[in-house]
């Protein structure tokens, strides 16, 4: 976990209060790049999209990284709440006790990795079949979520995420992997 040092937090406050074009002010901390490099070392492949749903199944964050035939907003909401229910049903069908829901769904053309935090917020990513390291990426996204969303004093819990810093850092860390992939 990172904590804001005073200068970073100051920047954060300035952006929030004066609504300055965020990209011009923010410098991404070094550790973000370090993490991206770590992912690259394992040869990370493409992510198609990323979803975050709150504990009652509402979509609070959706990002598409270039899947064919983009879904409209209503469809993403439906898909997210459908996933929430499927996750719950899979726990009921477990043959042994202590089931915490689907972690990986392997479809014909994609893999869906899901990570559920202790508070019930679910993070799931749609990626190419056979992609490794998505679990650690989701945990990293969770870390970003706790640092840049939950610590944002203007964020209302369980509501859609509109935090510029979170957006920027997430996009940068995911896009870096994609750019590296295209260059291969």
């Amino acid at each position: 976990m990172v904590s804001f040092n005073s200068s970073e937090f100051a920047k954060f406050k300035i952006i929030k209060s004066f609504n300055i074009e965020a990209a011009t002010v923010i410098q991404v901390p070094r550790w973000v790049f370090r993490f991206s490099k770590r992912l690259l070392g394992f040869g990370m492949a493409a992510i198609y999209s990323l979803y975050i749903i709150n504990k009652s199944g509402g979509l609070i964050y959706y990002k598409d990284y270039g899947s064919a035939g983009r879904m409209d907003t209503n469809d993403t909401l439906r898909v997210a709440s459908l996933w929430h229910s499927m996750h719950a049903i899979s726990q009921q069908l477990s043959p042994v006790s202590g089931c915490s829901g689907i972690e990986l769904l392997q479809a014909d053309t994609f893999d869906l990795h899901c990570f559920q935090s202790l508070t019930g917020t679910k993070f799931f990513a749609v990626c190419e079949p056979g992609t490794q390291q998505i679990e650690s990426l989701l945990k990293f996204v969770y870390e970003l979520y706790t640092d840049y969303v939950l610590k944002n004093p203007f964020y209302e819990i369980e509501m859609p995420i509109r935090c510029e810093l979170f957006d920027i850092i997430l996009t940068q860390s995911v896009q870096k992997d994609r750019v590296a992939l295209l260059g291969q």
Binding site: G69, L82, P95, V96, C99, L105, A107
Partner: protein, 169 residues
């Protein structure tokens, strides 16, 4: 279409992907959602009665299939969410994994669904499911006394199946 390439049937069972007695249960559904066969080898936890459990399982598979068909990131034309699809139409799925079990799924062109629930660390069971389908064709469909759509009551099929699943998972 993800159906088997060509008409070849695998005459010998695929090699085991895990050793030990890790198979939990197996379901066979027909395309109307009727549970033709339910086998249970190792299931300590029963949350529902048998009928409710089968309904819930079929519902989960149906909904997951419409979810994967809608989510498919490689095709632009996906239709609407929840519209029923023919077997083989749209993007389907072959397995999912939780922390306590792994469910492998296969749908045949005639809409027969075979579901095998095993230990979460079992490998890819797609070939094994094809082999189980093969057993179904040999022992059930080719049986002249079997009425299609009715629950399977074949002692020979059950014992062969038990033996095979004990060997693979």
């Amino acid at each position: 279409m993800q159906f088997f390439g060509g008409s070849e049937i695998s005459p010998s069972p695929p090699p085991p992907t895990a050793s030990g007695n890790n198979g939990h249960m197996l379901y066979v559904f027909n395309r109307n959602g009727i549970c033709l066969l339910y086998r249970e080898w190792n299931r300590p936890l029963h949350t529902l009665n048998a009928q409710q459990d089968h309904k819930l399982m079929f519902g989960l598979l149906f909904s997951l299939k419409s979810l994967t068909a809608k989510m498919d990131p490689t095709s632009a034309e996906k239709g609407n969410l929840g519209v029923p699809q023919l077997p083989g139409q749209g993007c389907s799925f072959h397995s999912f994994r939780t922390n306590t079990y792994k469910l492998s799924f296969m749908e045949t062109p005639s809409g027969i669904k075979i579901i095998l629930v095993t230990h979460p660390r079992t490998g890819d069971l797609r070939d094994s499911l094809k082999y189980i389908y093969n057993l179904y064709v040999e022992y059930v469909v080719k049986n002249p006394l079997y009425t299609p759509g009715s629950p399977i009551r074949s002692e020979l099929f059950n014992t062969t199946l038990d033996q095979y699943v004990r060997g693979i998972a």
